[in-house]
Symmetry: C2
């Protein structure tokens, strides 16, 4: 087999690798679905020295281990697993849209998938309700693991041999598992200056502190990261040198920045130098607009809707992931279904070295057990049964084009309604967030600025709160930038995060007009 | 309204309390669905002094709090919540069995429920895919919370005012949350001598140790519990006096014991005396056989299948829960859908005082976010839409009768195939487990018994392992009793746990015959 793999190779690959077991919760599957090219690569390094006290003391659950001794001749009176005849679900039928945007919501000709209770037994399908509604393997059902393993193989082609996928019960849950797996109380983690607030809030109660690294238009700056680590003073900081790097490389939340390939390589080099472990959180990875920098957005008629409909072009233009650069196995990539399919599924996937993934499986055996079986079988029916790998890519193309439209309306509205001498922004090249810098220096409260640091910070927070409240009074809810600020960061700037994900296009225009009125009111006479 | 509440009161109660909001993730709902009688009771005591360091440092998530300021006139550019038009799920249709056993698996006339994407907007239903597939409130959707709140109100009628239900992502996940909410590293928790092994394994890596309290035929013995606590010596134990009591009152796992009402009252009194907080884990609560003690099982023709079909009789004969005795609000009850509907749903419910539940909601915001929306809407469609409260009870009656049959076959087979001078057991009055004591004293290895304690324990484990392996070789997998043993317990007895939940009736007979052969082989010449 050649060293390139495309989605069109998957059918013959499946044939070679053989059929699924069809068993309840088979535990030996994730490595089985990888293409032969994976096994010619060197193995991942060990990161056991990075594991938390909790992770080091976890092993396989007793009752699960017992199950592995089963074979067809053995009757199990061991696990208290109800017989599927007692599951009150006989059949599920799902209607999905075509992958092309034209039909989407009010689909004239929906695609349909039907799942019976005993479709495996009756050879109708490779997955059924009797399996998906039972206790599952914490990595996920073999049916869905196969799909995501193939997906990762084609899209990321990790450069070491023993990578592995596992499902998660959503990325928020996975992040909680990350902190439990890598951190002890008192540890620092490294993040961008501004980062996903829920990640910080999840880490805090564990006694984990964040330390932010400065960003530019391409996100985290490698030199600052290197400098932070090279100059880390254990006694001054009162904590060991941090090693867990949490980053959102694409369409970063909240700043909307996207790291170029070179930026990723530079940060990975710093990670190699300081032996960091990288959490690559990528919910917006497939919302890369690929419209080029700065000039392309304004003319939405020339947006790439019509021409970019080729899956290969889309795939070829995606900025490579950290996972795809990861020669050492020091990256755990978190993919999410929430922004590209639906958040309510609470079923996403992650990829890392087999040893690290196994730590998560031990943990998940004792926590989530597995993502919902209904979510799993619905995803499988959609992705594997109805759309297929290429169908998913076409859906992502459709979504990408929708978000380009939303971004463009947002930018047009900002140009039209916001006072340009107070508000400034960059072009979001991916994702769903627009990050607006507001120059507080012209605000009347700034006149009262005193030299003490604390009052300076407080003053900015006070101005931020006034703008936020005025905007709310005028009928638009946005997020304060300060809510996303990591620890150890002194900010002398003020930001607001606007998302164009939810509101309709006319609502986006109206909301930004209101935000403009709010800033004008707050900066009266100075805009 | 009178102080009794039955399922037939629910429709008029709903009418009085008004309609659901139909909003995405409304956060103010759980208290809204309780009958007026609840509010005439005294409030729960505070158990804040029992919270862990982690729980005390958690609060509401920033982005969630932001959402509460919304009203209809405000456009939100705040939360990165995708528009439902981008959820690729248009319609879901589910087929369910009738609640009576006759049709169950091969249903001739299944009941059907169909859910559209915008059923709320179009006034077709009170719940739809646009809501259930979005980010949800961590307590669960208002639609499902209403159902379980009504259920708890009717079935348990907790004797304090501010009780509240929340969904969980399954009881294993809820138990993990329990340890995080109440325990710090180094704490002891109190359990029965033999208890659910996964609970112990989940607690261990947190640095939480278990200490087992002796049991008799009715489970945990209150006098032993009182004695353990009254004589607790902090310096000898190297840990504070424990206060978290984890119990499985009905069809206990692994022993199959069920606590009588008096037993529950006595344990609750000890809990009041020592200010314990009780985790009532009740996955088998509705599998109470109600066939009376000891004599009734053998004649399965006279089993109560035909006559017990009255929901009131079933409800009236259920042994009251700890929740229903809980005047102080010191009980967190964990109900499970896994044994009565399907484990793959990963969506169950718990009930406790509002303050304690709020601690779980803060935690769940940062971990599970919410149970799967597909599981929630499937459950809602089945329980609220198709079956209704009484329908669920009829289903439970059907299940109960099925498990009575399974238990009876198990007991008959044990009497037929096991050597009675070596093996002994009690009658399981609930649940899915049969606990068999095997008298190791007649085993050849026992002849080599030396007086040292360690060797004594090792000898029993060695005999247990031989029986286990012989049984496996003969084609039956069972669980070793030692796998379920709590900490601090010296056992001079040996047990095996058999479940009659999974195998078919003929398989159960065959498997027990094999287990009988294995014990006979191990005790050759002595049976």
């Amino acid at each position: 087999m050649s060293s390139t793999l495309t989605f069109s190779d998957i059918p013959s690959l499946r044939q070679k690798l053989g059929p699924l077991t069809g068993d309840i919760a088979p535990v030996t599957t994730p490595m089985m679905f990888k293409s032969p090219r994976c096994f010619h690569k060197p193995p991942a390094k060990s990161f056991k020295h990075r594991l938390s006290q909790e992770a080091l003391s976890r092993g396989a659950a007793t009752l699960k281990t017992a199950g592995t001794e089963l074979n067809a001749d053995i009757i199990s009176l061991a696990t208290g697993r109800p017989s599927p005849e007692y599951f009150p679900f006989l059949k599920m039928t799902l209607d999905f849209p075509q992958t092309s945007g034209a039909s989407k919501d009010r689909a004239d000709s929906p695609l349909s998938g039907t799942i019976g209770k005993y479709d495996i037994k009756t050879n109708k399908a490779s997955y059924d309700l009797a399996i998906s509604l039972n206790y599952g393997y914490s990595a996920g059902s073999e049916q869905l693991i196969r799909f995501f393993t193939e997906h990762v193989d084609v899209v990321h082609n990790p450069p070491y041999s023993d990578w592995q996928c596992s499902l998660t019960a959503g990325t928020t849950s996975a992040l909680d598992s990350v902190f439990r797996t890598f951190c002890n109380r008192g540890n620092y983690i490294i993040t961008e200056t501004y980062t996903y607030s829920a990640a910080l809030e999840a880490a805090g109660p564990f006694g984990i502190r964040s330390i932010g690294v400065e960003m530019d238009e391409e996100g985290m700056v490698p030199a600052h990261l290197d400098n932070l680590l090279s100059s880390w003073d254990v006694s001054r900081r009162g904590a060991a040198k941090p090693f867990l790097l949490y980053i959102i490389p694409t369409g970063q939340n909240p700043t909307g920045t996207t790291q170029s390939l070179q930026r990723r390589k530079d940060i990975y080099a710093v990670a190699e130098k300081h032996d960091l472990y990288i959490i690559e959180d990528e919910p917006y990875y497939f919302l890369q607009f690929q419209t080029g920098k700065s000039e392309a957005y304004a003319n939405s008629d020339q947006s790439p809707r019509s021409e970019s409909n080729l899956v290969e072009e889309f795939l070829g233009n995606l900025i490579p992931s950290y996972l795809s650069l990861d020669v050492s196995g020091r990256v755990l990539r978190l993919d999410s279904t929430s922004k590209i399919l639906a958040p309510g599924l609470r079923c996403s996937w992650m990829t890392g070295s087999a040893d690290i993934i196994s730590r998560f499986l031990y943990l998940h055996d004792a926590t989530i057990v597995s993502p919902s079986g209904l979510s799993q079988i619905a995803l499988h029916t959609l992705l594997d049964g109805v759309w297929g790998h290429e169908g998913l890519m076409k859906w992502l193309l459709y979504l990408r084009d929708e978000y380009i439209q939303r971004r463009n309306i947002t930018l047009e509205s900002c140009e039209k309604y916001l006072p340009r001498n107070i508000c400034s922004w960059s072009l979001p090249e991916a994702g769903m967030f627009h990050w607006i810098k507001v120059d507080w220096r012209a605000h009347s409260l700034a006149a009262a600025y005193s030299k003490s640091d604390l009052e300076f910070e407080n003053m900015i927070l006070k101005i931020e709160d006034r703008i936020y409240s005025t905007a709310l009074r005028k009928g638009v809810l946005c997020c304060k930038g300060s809510a996303f600020r990591a620890g150890g960061v002194k900010s002398c700037e003020m930001y607001f995060r606007l998302t164009y994900a939810t509101a309709s296009l006319p609502q986006i225009q109206e909301a930004i007009a209101r935000f403009g009125m709010a800033t004008r009111e707050q900066f009266e006479g100075r805009v």
